[in-house]
Amino acid sequence: MDTNNTGDLIRKPSSALAKRPEPLERPVTPVADIYETADAFVIKLDMPGAVKDSISVLVEPGILAVKGKVEPPHREDGKLVFSEIGSRRYVRSFNLGDGVDGGNIEAKFENGVLGITVPKTESLKAREIKIK
C-alpha cells in the first residue's frame, strides 16, 4: 500500500522491524507525576490497559514498587497493521525517604491511571511553632 503523505497512515511495519521477533511482554516504565501535599506524597502513573487485578503495589523498607499486566492486545482482533503499543507489562519502583508512613499507603486504579498516596509522618508535616 502506498503511504502518500507524512500523516499517520496505516502502513506495514518496515521490514527491519517485522523481522525482529518481538518479546511477548516488553517491560515498560510507566510515566509518573509526583507531587506533594501538606499530608502526603502523591504518585500518578499512566498504566493504560492494565488489568486491575494484576496490579500490585509492594512496599518494603525504603522502596515502593509497582507492577501490572496488560491484556495481550488483539489476540483475536485480527492482524496488526500498525503498532505502537504492542504487548507489555508495567514495572517501576521508587525510593521512599525517611518521614513517610509506609504502613498507610493507599492506591487506586481509575481510567488507566494508578494513583498512590504515601502519607507523611508527623515529623515531616509543616507545623506552626508557638512563640512563648
Binding site: I10, V31, E36, D46, E60, I63, A65, V81, D98
Partner: protein
C-alpha cells in the same frame, strides 16, 4: 531534573534519566527514582509551555475480515473530552487531557505525563460504514471499531463473455 524551567515539550523518556541498578526484587533490572529523599530541595515546577503542549497518544490498528479496530492509549482522559470523526476515509481522534485541579499549584516533584491537546489522523485503506462506527473507553484505552463497507470486502463478479 535537567533543564529547570526550560522543560522540553517532547514526550520525555524517563529511562534516559533515572538511575538503574540490579535487584532481585523483580528478578530483573530495576529503576529507582531518587525522589522522596530529595524533597527538601524543593519541587520541580513545570512551566506553562509543557502544560499546553501537544502530544500524540500511542495507537495500535488491527484489521479483521469485517472491520478495523483502532486502539489508542488515553490514560486519565475524560470520555467527554474525546472526539472521533470520519471524513472521506480519514479517521481523526482528537481531544484534550486536562490536569486535575488538585495537581495544579501543588509542589510538583516530577512531571512526566503529557497534558494538553492531542490529535491523530489515519487514512483507512477501504471505505467503512460511517454510521456503524462504535467506540468503547476502558481502563484508559479507547477502542474504535470501524466495520468495512460491503463494497470494500472482496467479492467475485462474474462477467459474461458475449
Amino acid at each position: 531534573m535537567k533543564g529547570g524551567n526550560t522543560m522540553s515539550v517532547f514526550r520525555w523518556n524517563p529511562t534516559h534519566e533515572v538511575d538503574r541498578w540490579p535487584s532481585d526484587f523483580f528478578g530483573i533490572q530495576r529503576e529507582i527514582n531518587r525522589v522522596f529523599d530529595n524533597f527538601f530541595r524543593g519541587g520541580v515546577q513545570a512551566d506553562e509551555s509543557f502544560m499546553t503542549s501537544y502530544w500524540a497518544p500511542a495507537v495500535d490498528i488491527a484489521e479483521q475480515e469485517n472491520e478495523y479496530i483502532v486502539k489508542m492509549e488515553l490514560p486519565g482522559v475524560n470520555k467527554e473530552d474525546v472526539k472521533i470523526s470520519l471524513e472521506s476515509n480519514i479517521l481523526t481522534i482528537k481531544g484534550e487531557k486536562k490536569q486535575e485541579k488538585e495537581e495544579k499549584n501543588k509542589n510538583l516533584h516530577r512531571v512526566e505525563r503529557s497534558y494538553g491537546s492531542f490529535q491523530r489522523s489515519f487514512t483507512l485503506p477501504t471505505t467503512v460504514k460511517s454510521d456503524k462506527i462504535d467506540a468503547v473507553f476502558m481502563d484508559g484505552v479507547l477502542s474504535v471499531s470501524l466495520p468495512k463497507a460491503e463494497e470494500a470486502k472482496p467479492n467475485q463478479i462474474e462477467v459474461k463473455v458475449k
